[in-house]
């Protein structure tokens, strides 16, 4: 008798708690709907004091980068004093935070996303708000290739705020001097320099293959040069299969780097080397390798994490041309997207598309802006300026292919390229598995 009563009581309480919870979720949805409904008139007014409210931005940038982005946000606060802005530096947890936020109906107002593939995914699910109100400003400040990145079915969903030039190769200048090699401009020179470095007693390449993206970046740089931009686009959208001869050719070129005695620590050790270590081990004394192939952000990393400085002991050259390929840039970028359409969020999007916003971070360093109207003299040093200008002015720019794909395929690409490092002879095996993964992802 007693027992039955107690059970009923617990059940009743449970139902009560759950309905409370459901009500909580419901009211939340209502709020955001209201916000969306009330925007259309408010956003048209230009008077800056009229924009008020609060916005929450979740971003990738933490630590020093987080501080730089906060400086950019301070510029916004100065312009719109009535808006409360909170920045949530989520770092690598960002996909988790956004995925659960969207699934639970309470995403942040704005977020930075590095992958157009994920932006597309969120957009087609209806989680993102189009930012067509800002396209005029964006078109004025960005080259078309950047606008296209975040435009799906005629609607623009994001503005690329921070860019990255990934067609760069960093090297230890002393190792190059000791071996008597010059920064190469062609792939053949590059491989020959590798042999000479090896003969001088320094392992040529440092590869951070524990982080899959370092391998995809290398593949993209080679592929864009051997196959050309058209094929690159076709591969990115899976119009050509991964078993295409062009993919095999690029992997064949890539394999030339992967001889075990050419990689710091040998193949299996490289697979346990993460990106930070792959950089630091090039700039220690004695160096474990002479060359690390990664993007412009390596520069900041060298300056902050090693005793070497860019310009003193470390330098950079552009990823060499393969078979006379014209200059091309593989890059990446973090876009700002909007989950909730409010006047304050709209103002933020418009603000971040301006050269003024970009300048606030650019002058702090560690930043390449794709904004072509940004005055290049604001960059703190020559190297940053050169790499940023290569990015913003690039004639042929292609976005990091792995980020254009569905995450599932991206993960498969990480794994399969790691397998490729393990056995560089098995090109057919790798392409076959990639094609199988792609078929599944594009189903």
């Amino acid at each position: 008798m007693m027992r039955k009563h107690r059970l009923l009581l617990i059940l009743a309480l449970l139902v009560g708690a759950l309905s409370l919870l459901a009500a909580g979720c419901g009211s939340d949805d209502d709020e955001s709907d209201e916000g969306a409904a009330g925007t259309t008139e408010a956003a048209t007014t230009e008077a800056e004091e009229s924009v008020s409210g609060s916005i929450r931005i979740a971003g990738l940038w933490t630590g020093g980068e987080g501080d730089s982005f906060k400086a950019v946000l301070d510029g916004y606060r100065a312009k719109y004093p009535d808006v409360t802005v909170t920045y949530q530096p989520a770092g690598e947890d960002l996909p988790t935070i956004l995925a659960t936020g969207v699934e639970g109906g309470n995403p942040p107002d704005l977020a930075s996303l590095s992958s157009p593939g994920i932006i597309k995914d969120f957009a087609t699910r209806g989680a993102l708000q189009p930012i067509d109100f800002a396209t005029e400003g964006i078109k004025e400040n960005y080259s078309q290739s950047f606008v296209d990145l975040t435009t799906f079915e005629g609607k623009t969903y994001g503005v690329v705020f921070k860019g990255a030039n990934k067609s760069t190769v960093w090297y230890n200048t002393k190792a190059f001097e000791d071996a008597g090699v010059e920064p190469p401009t062609t792939w053949d020179e590059f491989l020959e320099a590798g042999e000479t470095l090896k003969a001088s007693g320094v392992t040529p390449y440092s590869i951070g293959a524990a982080d899959g993206w370092t391998l995809t970046d290398l593949f993209e740089n080679v592929y864009l040069r051997t196959a050309g931009p058209e094929k690159y686009d076709q591969l990115a959208t899976h119009e050509i299969p991964w078993t295409d001869p062009s993919v095999k050719e690029a992997l064949g070129e890539m394999a030339k780097v992967f001889a075990s005695d050419s990689i710091a620590g040998g193949t299996s050790s490289a697979l346990q080397t993460d990106f930070p270590t792959s950089v630091t081990q090039v700039f220690t004394d004695p160096p474990k390798a002479a060359i690390v192939m990664e993007g412009d952000f390596v520069g900041t990393f060298i300056n902050t994490e090693t005793k070497t400085k860019v310009g003193e002991g470390a330098d950079v050259f552009t990823f060499p041309s393969i078979n006379d390929s014209p200059p091309v840039v593989v890059g990446a970028g973090d876009s700002i997207v909007m989950f909730k359409d409010t006047p304050a969020a709209r103002a933020m999007i418009e603000y971040l598309a301006t050269p003024e916003a970009a300048e606030l971070w650019a002058k702090r360093g560690g930043f390449s802006s794709p904004n072509k109207n940004l005055d290049e003299s604001v960059y703190p040093d020559e190297t940053t300026k050169k790499l940023a200008s290569e990015l913003a002015q690039a004639e042929t720019f292609r976005f990091d292919l792995s980020d254009l794909q569905p995450k599932v395929l991206n993960d498969a690409l990480f794994t399969e390229l790691a397998n490729f490092v393990k056995s560089p002879a098995d090109i057919d095996g790798v392409t076959g598995k990639l094609e199988a993964a792609a078929k599944k992802a594009y189903k």
Binding site: G180, T196, G265, S269, L271, P286, T415, A418
Partner: protein, 431 residues
């Protein structure tokens, strides 16, 4: 008829006590569990009811198959291993001096967050002996037991030298008295070059002897392989051997001077091979590949056992303290050996405690996650993955396959059910 007032107050009090727990359980356990179950029948995007599609996908997905296989290994090894280790330590600590210190040492890992443990082990497992403590230890031990030469990466500069550094390098062309042998090496690390480098010198030929030079056949830019050039350094202290080309017998042995030159005097006519002895070279130790495909799961198991042994030891020691000693005494008086006492008296009396440890560990490893995520580099996730990692990977890493991820969660839950029931039954019996 309403219950008497005292009874009603009794309800009110139980309600007040229960409410917080029920609220928290409801919000953070029961509601999410029901939602997950429902979600697992919908498509990844959420819109479409797909019946059991997610569950059938579960059994065709290659990664999930590997994960299940790995979880089976975990279940087979960890509970048995942890229970055995715990029992061993518990029994030992009863007999060793400094038992408290030993107990603390074994127990401390449990006080460290599993993720931190993972990070520590990941660093210790690094293959490069400069980074990974375990391989560094192995190198140090190897260094004591084997004589190693000075050059680790050197190789011949031209095809004139054949053989391998491990067996010694030999000039392929046989020579006779009056010859000058050029033994060029390349790919020598900067820190293995002589401290006071001297220009390599090609010695004069002598009529009744063989002379030659061992040198670093490299200068900035590469130089011409096979030629002694300016700025190329002699390698001193290298053992050079003279062998008869007919019999292969070693006829003489000498060491190079600072400029790399050497001389064999009084060589009788005939043909000879000049060789660099293998004692000059050292095989660079590449380290055990702890985080590679073959060793990764054992490496994870070791790290996990290291953590859980302390838990098992403490529980077992508590059980040991509680069992009546007179039975053991009686067995000993009756002439039982220590092993017999242990096997026939101690272990059966401890059985309920050991079962608790065993079952807790089964549940623990079925849901093992953090140690795998923190130790395994992404290049090895393919071979080391477990069910919980796959669940996380598909739902939260950006893949956003929530339907599939929910199905994995439910599948995991179903794996727990038998052990949960067993545990509840046991609690009931004990009460």
């Amino acid at each position: 008829m309403p219950p008497p007032p005292s009874r009603r107050r009794g309800y009110a009090i139980s309600l007040a006590f229960l409410a917080p727990a029920v609220f928290f359980l409801g919000v953070w356990v029961i509601y999410p569990a029901i939602r997950t179950l429902v979600r697992s029948f919908f498509s990844d995007r959420g819109g479409e009811f797909v019946w059991f599609d997610n569950y059938t996908a579960l059994f065709t997905d290659e990664a999930v198959q590997t994960a299940i296989k790995n979880n089976v290994i975990w279940v087979l090894v960890v509970p048995a291993g942890v229970t055995a280790l715990g029992l061993l330590f518990a029994v030992l600590t009863e007999r060793v001096p400094w038992a408290a210190a030993f107990k603390v040492a074994v127990f401390v890992p449990l006080a460290v967050s599993l993720f931190a443990v993972g990070v520590i082990w990941r660093i210790m497992y690094q293959q490069d002996p400069d980074r990974g403590a375990i391989n560094a230890g192995i190198v140090a031990v190897q260094g004591i037991f084997s004589e190693q030469g000075a050059l680790t990466t050197a190789r011949p500069s031209t095809d004139a030298l054949t053989g391998s550094p491990q067996g010694g390098l030999r000039l392929e062309r046989a020579v006779g008295p009056g010859a000058v042998a050029l033994l060029g090496l390349t790919a020598i690390k900067a820190d293995e070059l002589p401290d006071e480098p001297e220009q390599a010198v090609t010695p004069q030929a002598i009529p009744d002897g063989i002379t030659g030079v061992v040198w670093r056949d490299f200068k900035p830019g590469g130089g011409t392989p096979g030629e002694v050039e300016t700025d190329e350094v002699g390698l001193g202290g290298v053992t050079v051997k003279l062998r008869s080309a007919e019999t292969g017998k070693t006829m003489g042995s000498t060491t190079t001077g600072k400029d790399g030159s050497f001389t064999f005097e009084g060589v009788e006519s005939g043909s000879y091979h000049v060789a660099i002895g293998k004692e000059t070279f050292a095989e660079p130790f590449q380290g055990f590949n702890w985080l590679g495909d073959t060793l990764i799961t054992p490496s994870l198991l070791i790290a996990f056992l290291w953590v859980q042994a302390g838990f098992a030891m403490v529980i077992t020691a508590a059980g040991l303290a509680a069992i009546p000693r007179d039975l053991q005494e009686a067995a000993r008086t009756d002439g039982g050996t220590e092993w017999q006492v242990f096997r026939r008296i101690t272990v059966p009396l401890l059985a309920p405690v050991l079962t608790v440890v065993f079952v807790t560990q089964i549940i623990g490893v079925l849901k093992v996650f953090d140690i795998v995520i923190s130790i395994v580099p992404s290049s090895g996730r393919d071979s080391a993955t477990v069910i919980a990692v796959e669940m996380y990977q598909s739902s939260f890493s950006g893949q956003n396959r929530f339907g599939f991820g929910s199905a994995i969660s439910i599948f995991m839950f179903l794996l727990f059910v038998p052990f949960l029931i067993a545990n509840i039954r046991r609690f009931r019996r004990e009460n």
